[in-house]
Symmetry: C2
Subunit: 412 residues, 2 copies
C-alpha cells in the first residue's frame, strides 16, 4: 500500500515542484474554501470519532484536542488562507557566483519532494501540515491517529477537492488510512518515496522514529526548557518572564520546566516569585538552597531536572554562578529553548555562546519559540536536532538548495 501511495505522491510532487507560486496560493485558498464549505460534513465525521474515542475511554485534554467545532473549522480554513499569504520560498535564489572559467553557478531553493507527517489525534494538524507542504511545493503523506481517522479523512477529502479545483494534483495530499504500528513503520522506511519525515508526537513516537526510521527525519523532540535568572537581572522582568514561561500554556514544548537562579539574587527573588507562582497553582520543587529560601517547596530529585512536566510544576535550583547554570543546562537541556534574564551583556553573550540550543531567549519568554510568533504562519514542527534546520519549521524548512550551472561549453 505504501508503494502505491508513495508513487502517487512522487508524481504529484513533480507537478507541484514546477508549479508557480500563484498556482499554489490559489490552491490553498481553494483548500480553505472547501474546508469551510464542508464544515457540517467535517463536524459529523468528528462527532463519530469523538463518540468512538469516548467509548474507548478517552477523556479530558485528549478528547478536547480531537474535538472540532464550527469555530475550530473556521480557524483551520483561516490557517490555510494565512499560509497562502506567506512568501514563496520555491525558486528563491540564495546565492550565486561566476566561476573563474565563466560558468555561472546559481544556488536555488527547491521543494524537498515528498514529506511525511506522523501525528496524534489533532485533526487541525491535517490541514496545517498539508497547507505548509503544498505551499512549499511538496506533496504530503499524512498519518494521523486512529482516533481521528474519520475527521482526518473528511478534511483530506476537502483539501484534495481544493487542489483539484485549482488545477493541481489531488495526490499532493494523501492520508495513510492504515493507522496500525506496521503502517507507521512502513512509512518510516519508505526510502524510495519519502524525502522527509516529521514526527509530531510524544516520546513514544520519537523513540520509535529513532529506532525504526530509515528515511531522513527532523526530530521534533522534547522541550525541557530552562530560565536562568542572573545576578544582574532586572528582578521584576525576571518574575514576569518566569511566570509567563511557566503558566501561559504549561502543556506545550516551549513552556519552562526548570528555573535556575543566581545565589546573589535568590534570597530576594525566589520568595517573591514563589508567591506569584503559587497564586497560579504552580507546584515548586527545589534544591536544598531553594527550599531553605521558600519553605513551601518540596525537595527536588534527579528526576525533576530531567522531566518535561508539561504541567503546572516548576523545578528550582540556586546556582553559585553562571558556569553552574550553563553546566546544568548542558546536562539536562534538550536543545529546544533556553532563556537568560540579565542586564549584563557580557553574561548574556557568554550564555548564548555556551548553550547549544535551537533558540536562546535573552530577557524574554521561552514561549516565543513558535512558528507563528516567528512569522512563519503555521509550523510543521519544531526541530530539536541540528541537521537541516533548528527551531520552528516554516515553509523554508520544507525546501533545500541545489545548484544550477550555466556554461558556454566549458570543460575541465
Amino acid at each position: 500500500m505504501i508503494d502505491a501511495i508513495g508513487r502517487r505522491a512522487r508524481l504529484a510532487s513533480r507537478i507541484l515542484a514546477s508549479s508557480s507560486g500563484a498556482a499554489r496560493r490559489a490552491a490553498l485558498i481553494q483548500m480553505a474554501e472547501r474546508v469551510a464549505a464542508g464544515s457540517s460534513a467535517l463536524l459529523k465525521a468528528n462527532t463519530a470519532d469523538l463518540q468512538q474515542a469516548a467509548d474507548e475511554g478517552i477523556r479530558g485534554a485528549l478528547l478536547d484536542r480531537l474535538a472540532l467545532t464550527e469555530d475550530r473549522v473556521e480557524n483551520i480554513a483561516g490557517g490555510l488562507r494565512k499560509v497562502a499569504g506567506l512568501a514563496d520560498p520555491v525558486g528563491r535564489q540564495t546565492g550565486g557566483w561566476r566561476m573563474r572559467n565563466g560558468v555561472r553557478l546559481h544556488h536555488v531553493r527547491v521543494p524537498l519532494g515528498v514529506v511525511a507527517v506522523i501525528y496524534e489525534a489533532r485533526p487541525n494538524v491535517t490541514a496545517d501540515a498539508a497547507g505548509l507542504c503544498i505551499m512549499s511545493g511538496n506533496a504530503v503523506i499524512l498519518r494521523g491517529s486512529s482516533y481521528a481517522l474519520r475527521s482526518n479523512a473528511a478534511i483530506t477529502a476537502a483539501l484534495r477537492d481544493g487542489l483539484d479545483q485549482a488545477g493541481l494534483p489531488a495526490d499532493g495530499v494523501q492520508l495513510l488510512e492504515d493507522t496500525t504500528r506496521e503502517g507507521a513503520k512502513a512509512l518510516m522506511q519508505a526510502v524510495e518515496w519519502v524525502d522527509l519525515l516529521v514526527p509530531r508526537g510524544g516520546p513514544g513516537l520519537i523513540a520509535s522514529v529513532r529506532s525504526d526510521a530509515t528515511v531522513p527525519t527532523v526530530i521534533d523532540g522534547a522541550g525541557n526548557c530552562h530560565v536562568y535568572v542572573d545576578a544582574a537581572a532586572d528582578l521584576d522582568m525576571a518574575a514576569s518572564i518566569v511566570i509567563n514561561s511557566k503558566v501561559d500554556r504549561p502543556g506545550v514544548c516551549n513552556a519552562a520546566e526548570t528555573l535556575l537562579v543566581h545565589e546573589s539574587v535568590a534570597p530576594e527573588f525566589l520568595p517573591k516569585v514563589a508567591v506569584a507562582l503559587e497564586a497560579e497553582n504552580v507546584e515548586l520543587r527545589g534544591d536544598p538552597l531553594a527550599c531553605q529560601l521558600v519553605p513551601i517547596m518540596t525537595e527536588a530529585t534527579e528526576d525533576d531536572w530531567t522531566t518535561e512536566y508539561l504541567d503546572l510544576i516548576l523545578a528550582v535550583r540556586v546556582v553559585p554562578d553562571i558556569d553552574t547554570a550553563i553546566e546544568h543546562i548542558r546536562e539536562y537541556g534538550t536543545g529546544h529553548t533556553e532563556a537568560i534574564v540579565t542586564d549584563d551583556i557580557g553574561v548574556s553573550e557568554q550564555f548564548i555562546s555556551a548553550i547549544d540550543t535551537a533558540v536562546v531567549a535573552v530577557n524574554t519568554s521561552t514561549r516565543f519559540t513558535d512558528g507563528e510568533e516567528f512569522g512563519f504562519g503555521a509550523e510543521i514542527g519544531n526541530s530539536t536536532q541540528k541537521l537541516h534546520v533548528r527551531g520552528p519549521m516554516g515553509l523554508e524548512s520544507l525546501t533545500s538548495e541545489r545548484y544550477v550551472l550555466y556554461g558556454d561549453g566549458q570543460v575541465r
Copy 2:
C-alpha cells in the same frame, strides 16, 4: 571506547564553537606546519602501511590511493593552508527581524558540534576532513581504513600538535583506531556524541550506513550522471562536453556514465563523437538505435542504465524527445549531476525544472560538481540526499542556523 572519544570530542567542540575565526585559522596554519615538518615520519608510517597492504594482496589504484609521497604530503599541508584562507561561516548572521512586540530575532550560523567521517584507505582525507571540521568550529572523529591506520595515526598526531600549538584543544581531531566493523557501527550509533556522520566510500559503506546508522547522516552516494544532447545542441560543444565528462577522470562520482541523444541530431552527432571516444579508449554500449548508427557499439542491457561504471565505458541511448530523456534520468539518475547541452532556453528550463538533482549543468561538463571548483576549498563530501545540503559540501555544510531572541522583558 566510543563514549570516551565522544565525550572528549564534545568538550573540544564547545571550545571550538566559541573560538574566534582567527584562532581557527591560526590552528589550520599550525596543523599544516606540523604535517609538513613531520613529512619523514608520515612517509615512514605510510611505507609500513603500504608494505602490509601489499602483503595482503592490495594492488593497483587502491595501493596508489594509499601511497604518500613528499609531494602528496606537501599537497596535504597546502590543502590545510587553503582552507585557512576561506571565509569563516561561524557566527554569520543569515537573517533577522524585529517581531511585532519588539523582540529582535537573529538567525545565526553555528557549528554542528561533533562530525564523524568514515572513509577508505586515502590518508589525505584525514587532513582534508579535519581541516574543514576545525575551520567550521566542529570537532571531528575520523574512522579510516585499517590499511591506512599507521599513516592516519601519524597525520592525526601532527594535526593534534598543530591544534595544541595554536591553543585549541587537541581533541578537536581524534582518530578511531578501532577499524573493525563493530567500531564503525558503534560510531554510527553514537547518538549522544555525533551530530553528523559523513560516510565517504563505496556502495557497501553507504548500504551499511543506511541500515545501521542512527546518528544524523548526509549520504555521499553514487553518481550515475547523464549528459543529454538536445535537438538544439551545438554539436561541437556537445562532443567536447561528453568527452570531458566521460574521460577526464572516469573513476570519480561526477564522471558521466550515460549519454542520451535526441534522435534528430543522433545521425550526425553519434558517429562523430564515437570516433573521438574510441580514440580515448572508451567502450560504448548502445540501445538498438544507437547501435544502428554506430555499429562498433555493443548492445546495452538494463544493467548498463543502472551502473556507475567509474571506468572508460559509456552507455548510449537515442531518445525521441526531451520528455523521454527526462523520464530516463528520473528512472536511473542518483541525484548527483545531470547535464544538458542545448541552445534552446525553453528546453534547458524544462530540464532544470523537471530533473530533481543536486546539480544541473547546462552547456557544461558534469565534472564541475566539485567543492574546489565551486570555491569551497576541499570538500567533506558530496551530498546526494535532499535534507540539509545537496551537492559539494564545504564549510557552510558543517554548520546550521539557530535563533537568538533579544527582548526587553516581553512575554506572551
